[in-house]
Amino acid sequence: MLKLIQNEWMKLWSKKATWIMATLLIVILLANAGITKWIESTSPAPEIGWQEMEEMNLMSAQDQLQNPDIGPAQQDYYEGQAAIAEYRLANDAEPFKVESLQQQVLDGHMMLSLVTLFTVIVGAGIVASEFSQGTIKMLLTRPVKRWKILTSKYITTMLFALLFAVITFASIALFSWIFFGIGDGAFLVWNGSEVVEGSYWAEALKLSVLSLASTWMIGTFAFMLGTVFRSSSLAIGVSIFLMFVGVQLVFLLQRFEIVKYYLFTHTDLTQFYTGFMPIPDITMAMSLIVLTVYFLVFMVISYWTFAKRDVTA
């Protein structure tokens, strides 16, 4: 299996497109940091200090807590936010500025949708391209069972996603260190009973692992489409379309019970820690179960079609 993955990895990085994607990712992140820096340097200094900002945060968190519609995860979140804001004001503990390495790293998980995009391209093409190049005949007439070949391709796609996620974080850390440097401030967390200082690296890691669930699901979906339809353009098109429209559909389906079993209600696992939940009464456990079921369905369809298919092209 290791040799098969090695093969897939070698093929992947022998393609120019892969190097272009890696370059593009880094360039976009560089531009992002550059633009943030430029906006900071051209806009006038803020009129209000961080204390006023924290007071506003406190008020809005308290407002949210009065809202009867919020779910348990949101309840915890806003309680934490209120407690942290009170603590900051009471102890003169300044938060990170947006233009600091720390805050950029904390927000880095939002950039992982780029990784999803590239993973969709790779996942959609990794099986489909073998068919379009005609190399599938060479690949399947070896003493290796088809499910092993498909597994090596799936693992390679996921390794690619991981590598790109690492590149994303390394680039964000590097570029924000160059442009903004390490700022003042403390990272605070609410552990349920008191506010303590936490590690922003650990928090960033947690949020990005949760964000990668969406990369994983959409990547798997694209992989399935590419395997079933043997057309990477179709698989890329449909996956990217769903990536954008799928989330919007959550709002349309909001009133119906079925929304709780809908994939895109659950793909963003960071929602349990950022307070923004379109469907407030779902839980992390429920999301993980729904995602697992979808994953299994995607996998069964991919393996079944790949193993059974007569190769005629």
Binding site: N7, S14, Q133, T135, L140, T141, P143, D310
Partner: protein
């Protein structure tokens, strides 16, 4: 030639939709022997070959390679098989060498030394580091052969291997296959619709039509000896030949007689003595093409199955 059985095709059938493409096909292949697989377009050559290499699944029947079933022990049966299915499609964005490394990793025990050996065998050492995209068709065929030989196969399957090669390339390819069959005692199964090609290359020919194996014959099997005689006036010549006791069949501008070589000088003397002018006396060989057309009903193309 050891004549050991290496491949056994047993009651092989394939049905796609409602159409039976391969009907109850039985065939054995032996070590050291080159078997040609001949048939009109759409007869089921490619389908049969794809089933033999695991690209398609048989509806009924089985294929045993080295005694192992392709249905129940795919990895075991295909272990010692080398395959070239039509034009060998390689990864164009990688070098020839990387392509070979890629395929070598999918077999057990193919070493780096073996890769180099195969490259030497097909004479590609000078360009093996270049991208496959820059290769000519002939080069790609050679690389295709190289990848098929990596695992020291006991059985080579080639589907239309000379498609698109120039005459020199075809000749080179043919010599090479013969060498491999003889020296390594490999069984080779070659499909083609080029009769002359098969005739030159193969020891044995299996003919398929409409999914059925209609004949298996050895190429150099002793043919009935026939002579073609052209003489004038032809009526008189016919009379003389019939008097001697030959069976006479009209053919082109003369006659064909079934006889052995030793009777020819006597017949010529009698014809000359009877005052007949001889224009031609020559052995008449039916070519494979004649036989093939005869058997498959004038080369009528079987209802084309979609490829």
């Amino acid at each position: 030639m050891s004549n050991e059985k290496i491949v056994e095709i047993r009651k092989l059938s394939k049905t796609i939709g409602k159409k039976q493409i391969i009907k109850n096909l039985n065939l054995d292949l032996h070590k050291g022997e080159i078997t040609g697989f001949l048939g009109p377009n759409g007869a089921g050559k490619t389908t049969t070959i794809r089933m033999m290499v695991g690209l398609m699944k048989p509806t009924h029947g089985d294929i045993l390679i080295g005694g192992k079933s392709i249905r129940t022990d795919f990895e075991g049966s295909i272990e010692k098989v080398g395959v070239i299915v039509e034009n060998p499609e390689m990864y164009k964005f990688m070098s020839g060498y990387k392509n070979l490394v890629h395929f070598a990793r999918m077999h057990k025990g193919v070493t780096k030394a073996r890769i180099d050996e195969v490259i030497q065998q097909v004479g590609m050492q000078n360009r093996i580091k270049e991208k496959v995209g820059s290769y000519s068709l002939g080069m790609r065929q050679r690389l295709g052969l190289a990848q098929a030989l990596l695992n020291n196969p006991e059985f080579l399957i080639l589907d239309e291997p000379t498609n698109g090669l120039d005459p020199a390339g075809i000749r080179e390819f043919r010599m090479y296959l013969r060498k491999v069959a003889r020296e390594n005692d490999v069984a080779i199964f070659v499909s083609s619709h080029l009769l002359s090609e098969i005739e030159l290359l193969c020891d044995r020919i299996a003919i398929i039509q409409n999914g059925e194996l209609i004949d298996i014959k050895n190429v150099n099997e002793h043919q009935q000896s026939r002579y073609y005689i052209e003489a004038k006036p032809s009526e008189q010549a016919k009379q003389v030949l019939e008097e001697i006791g030959f069976t006479v069949h009209p053919h082109e501008n003369g006659y064909l007689i079934d006889t052995e070589a030793e009777h020819i000088p006597g017949a010529i003397k009698l014809l000359t003595a009877a005052g007949v002018d001889l224009y031609a006396v020559q052995p008449h060989r039916t070519t494979l093409e004649d036989q093939f057309l005869e058997m498959t009903g004038g080369g009528e193309i079987a209802q084309a199955h979609t490829k």
